[in-house]
């Protein structure tokens, strides 16, 4: 059995379930970000439920518009806080906390083997901890917070087997962009994407989160990396109780296997307006940019800011470029502060904002005007995603984004003088 089959077997209490079966499963964590919470609460109430099923397992994070920039958002936040208080929810992370997919693992809500459901498509990020994690809409979430249960089709799994060592300035983001280019924007629809091989074993938890985060961009239901010592080390001091890791059987059946050679991988870039429109950076280097954004649940972690700072230290960004940096959480922000990263970034000309999702989805910060070009470390380059539908958005790693901010042109960091 695959990791997904095992987790969903356990969560459904149905013995051995196989890919293709539909199971009713018990959810270990139900997560809601601000902008989908009210619709879910309304759905729960319309279904006739007055209380959530478990005040310890429903987690809310006010992250998409943090802090509120409009009266509507302020009202949404007010109503959510009121709901959390009235229900006695134990975990409401307010606007100072960070992006939900970073906050959840940091605060110990995710464990290997868990079934994590979130009212946000990038919930697949939590598969980096050996969990089965997937996104749903608000009506599904309404039923989940009311009953603790949902129905799921057990997915087939596509295994991405990565061997070798990523070269200098080639990051997990380049690996997942390359994978998206190979598999396609709908190539993993309804499937789990499992990442394995020596490159993944050597990879940090942060990098694994980058990989799993973008499973949805191929239509994937979840990304998964089996847990190991690195996972346990991250979780130590954050989670309580026993951890029961889940591993795939030797004879687990996969829909397909994609083999990737890390040694020869180059920095990649996804060109407008599709996530699978992926090329080696060299093919578009020299394209003029107006804005670079480093942050998001894909690439707003310490090692992302660290590599950006290493490139920017002692340099200044191009005069015609603005560089926006958004740490993924308060914990990341504080670490970056302690390590002097914040200073390097600010001195290089960056704008540093508080943790939020705003710059990724065309929210309250960092919009692109018509005709402008942005390079971003986030996960979607859809038309209009970051502001004007007449803007162009390129997806890349933090190193590529930082190097491009320096030159004002899309740049392979290895080509910087």
């Amino acid at each position: 059995m695959t990791v997904s089959e095992k987790i969903l077997s356990r969560a459904s209490g149905q013995g051995k379930t196989r890919a293709g079966e539909i199971v009713k499963a018990e959810v270990d964590v139900a997560m809601m970000p601000d902008l989908t919470t009210i619709l879910a609460i309304n759905a729960m109430k319309e279904m006739g439920f007055k209380r959530v099923w478990d005040v310890d397992k429903v987690v809310i994070v006010l992250d998409h518009v943090a802090p509120a920039s409009t009266l509507l958002a302020a009202t949404v936040h007010r109503d959510i806080r009121e709901f959390a208080r009235e229900q006695g929810l134990k975990h409401l992370y307010d606007v100072d906390s960070g992006v939900c997919h970073q906050v959840l693992p940091e605060k110990g809500h995710v464990k290997p083997g868990y079934l994590v459901i979130g009212a946000d498509s990038h919930t697949c990020t939590h598969g980096a901890f050996g969990a089965f994690a997937t996104g749903v809409g608000s009506t599904d979430m309404g039923a989940i917070i009311a009953t603790g249960k949902t129905w799921l089709k057990v997915p087939e799994t596509i295994r991405v087997e990565v061997e070798g060592k990523l070269p200098e300035y080639v990051a997990p983001k380049d690996l997942i962009l390359y994978t998206a280019g190979q598999i396609g924007a709908d190539g993993a629809t309804y499937n789990a994407l499992e990442f394995s091989g020596s490159t993944i074993s050597d990879m940090s938890v942060s990098g694994r989160m980058t990989l799993c985060n973008m499973a949805i961009e191929m239509g994937g239901k979840t990304g998964i990396v089996e847990s190991d010592e690195k996972t346990l080390k991250f979780l130590k001091g954050r989670t309580e109780g026993i951890i029961e890791p889940v591993y795939a059987d030797e004879d687990a059946k996969y829909r397909s296997v994609l083999n990737v050679d890390a040694d020869t991988l180059e920095p990649q870039i996804a060109c407008p307006h599709k996530v699978d429109n992926v090329k080696p950076v060299g093919e578009v280097s020299g394209t003029r940019i107006n804005q670079a954004f480093i942050g998001s649940c894909t690439n707003g972690r310490l090692e992302d800011l660290q590599v950006a700072a290493s490139i920017l230290k002692g340099r200044h960004i191009h005069k015609d470029v603005r560089l926006l940096i958004v740490p993924a959480s308060k914990e990341v922000y504080l670490q970056a502060l302690d390590k002097g990263i914040v200073r390097s970034l600010l001195e290089a000309g960056a704008v540093l904002s508080n943790p939020s999702c705003g710059a990724c989805f065309g929210g309250h910060i960092g919009l692109l005007a018509p005709g402008e070009v942005g390079i971003t470390t986030s996960n979607r380059n859809f038309k209009g995603r970051q502001g004007s539908p007449e803007a162009l958005v390129y997806l890349a790693s933090p190193a590529v984004a930082a190097a491009s901010a320096v030159t004002g042109l899309i740049t392979d960091p290895r080509d910087l003088p």
Binding site: K24, L35, L39, M47, S121, G137, F361
Partner: protein, 167 residues
Amino acid sequence: MNIRLEGMTWEFGDDVNTDLIVPGKYLELVDYNEIALHAMEGIDPDFPKKVRKGDIVVGGRNFGCGSSREHAAIALKHVGVGAVVAESFARIFYRNAINLGLPALECPGIAEAVREGDVLDIDLIGGKVKNKTTGRELSFVPLPSFMVAILNEGGLVAYLTSHKGEW
């Protein structure tokens, strides 16, 4: 809901993502009718003015990809769209649509068989789509009975209410 649906078509192509259906700046809205005013705004801002009740949205591959925002399915349903028929759907949009009582039908060949403005006659139980303008008929795998029940009762909220919270 009727098990037969008839409506005029609007065609949108491959990879219609939920950012195009309802751009991110409207996610603070919670009123269904206000959300509906922005249906398809990323592709055709005039769509809410042009679409009539019962019209059918036709998509290509991967319709509804991207964000989990239920606003996308809410907007289409409450602007009056009677069904979405596509070559294939992204899974979260698909669930959202069914949960809201908006039929989402995966029908291979549909993108090529329809020109915008053609009138379709859909038989939900029989799994047939007839293009009344051209006479061409296509089949799709009919929805399982519990999903037809959810659609018939107007969505998951109504379904769970009438079934006392039991699936």
